[in-house]
Amino acid sequence: MSVADPILRRGEVTIRDLSKSFTLNGRRLNVLRGIDLAVGGGSSLAIVGPSGCGKTTLLRVLAGLEEPDAGEVLVDGSPVHGIGHQRAVIFQEPRLLPWLTVLDNVAFGLEVRGTPRRDAREKALRYIRLVGLAGFETAFPRQLSGGMAQRVGIARALTVQPEILLLDEPLGALDAMTKLTMQEELARIWQEESVTMVLVTHDLEEAIFLADRVLVLSKDSAIPPRLIDIDLPRPRDRSAPAFVELRKTLMAGFGLH
């Protein structure tokens, strides 16, 4: 397969000189300042940094949920404004509609986009299987565990077959064990679906496990973010010396040991 083929490698994200500030209690807060970044189509980027440094803000700008003050976001070379069909967002909470079954929740995104209900459901079934929830199609969200609910949210996002998957701490609310399994699932899904993945996380190990590159934002927006390549073979092994070494280096960068 030719990696350079532009048709096979859609979902390229470019950020140019992006700035975003908020006004909070009359004070101007520069959250992001002059961010430049290119995320190759089909690659995966993790965004890490201390709480309040603007990870969610950056992701929301990419999703089109916030307008930047300056700069622009390009998808496959064209500037995008607002929400677009190439992108799907997975939030920290599953955000399922409690009155819909698992099947209808997963089909929701496609239905909203005008796919006939029948086709949407058929496609939804496929992704329900992909996230390992076959047999739970008729369950209501109340009947699911946290991890299962998040899988439904992931299936819903995948069903619309986005080029770019934007995830904001998608596993942040899960217990440690479920989190590990879900990380493996995400790695598998990312490879099977050949989708560009931008993942906000506060878990360095998760970032190293899943990402091709890690973007480290600082609390002070005047300090430009660092970009770290994760040159480890896949599937990744958390106990491999190179993995452990990289984790140590990154932790030290945060002033942690």
């Binding site: 909470e93 509609l97 819909l100």
Partner: protein
């Protein structure tokens, strides 16, 4: 990764002992639920028949049942039921038709809601019964003022509950729908409306009770038909069993309305109590 699957349903052969056991359980449940009510009725009948109670004020139950039967068989009470249902039903339906759409609209537009809220609170706090004389002045003592006073009293619980329901919709769900490109209309139909249904039902049930209350009050003042009128009229004419028969029918009406609403709510909100 494997997921635990749902437990398979186990079928057991039917055994008479098990059936008997099930019957006993049902009987016990019925006894614990309706036992006290039955005891109360038996006490009434006995105490009144034996003269422990003043039988002119509390006639024995069999006389009340007889009066009820006579009234229904002769059609006199049936007419009263019909006209009462018509008044309350018309007013309630009008309150729903106006209140729910208006509430859905107001709940979504902040400026409208904020501008109208003080007026709504003021009207809500003004007892509809106190306004009844005003409505009589405006519309006369006929059907119009009766229906209107019930409509007025039932409108506000429905309207306020609907507004509350819409305002309490989880903004995160709305945002989720928007990320899939949902238009305002789609967000309304697929997120805001279904999310508001439980709250709307709170208003509907509150209003059903209010409707009955206002119905009785309106029929006691200047009416010559209806169950509320019949309660008053029977008392004037000292037909005490008939009076209790009318009271019983009013209670039944309330129970029926509540039962219908609860059943509808269960069907529409199956998701909310799926255990």
């Amino acid at each position: 990764m494997t997921l635990q699957s749902l437990d398979p349903v186990v079928f057991r052969p039917i055994s008479w002992a098990a059936l008997l056991q099930a019957g006993r359980t049902t009987a016990r449940a019925a006894l614990s639920r309706y036992g006290l009510l039955a005891a109360f009725l038996v006490f009434w009948e006995g105490a009144s028949s034996l003269g422990w109670l003043n039988a002119t004020v509390f006639p024995p139950l069999h006389l009340i049942v007889a009066a009820l039967w006579d009234g229904l068989a002769s059609g006199a009470l049936v007419d009263d039921i019909a006209i009462s249902l018509q008044r309350a039903g018309l007013a309630y339906a009008a309150a729903i038709v106006l209140g729910i759409p208006l509430g859905l609209f107001m709940g979504q537009i902040r400026a409208v809601e904020q501008a109208l809220d003080p007026i709504l609170q003021f009207f809500r706090q003004t007892s509809a019964l106190a306004l009844y004389p005003v409505f009589i002045l405006l519309m006369g003592l006929g059907e119009a003022s009766k229906v209107f006073v019930i409509f007025w009293a039932t409108l506000f619980p429905i309207l306020l509950a609907t507004i509350g329901g819409v305002k309490e919709v989880d903004r995160k769900l709305v945002e989720m729908a928007r990320t899939y490109g949902a238009t305002r209309a789609t967000v309304f139909l697929r997120v805001i409306l279904p999310a508001s249904v439980p709250q709307i039902f709170v208003g509907l049930r509150l209003s059903a009770t209010t409707a009955l209350l206002l119905l009785i009050a309106a029929e006691m003042i200047g009416a010559n038909k209806g169950l509320g009128f019949q309660v008053m009229n029977a008392q004037y004419n000292f037909q005490i069993p008939l009076m209790f028969a009318a009271i019983f029918l009013l209670a039944l009406l309330g129970l029926g309305a509540n039962y219908a609403l609860v059943t509808l709510q269960r069907r529409l909100c199956r998701w909310a109590d799926a255990a």
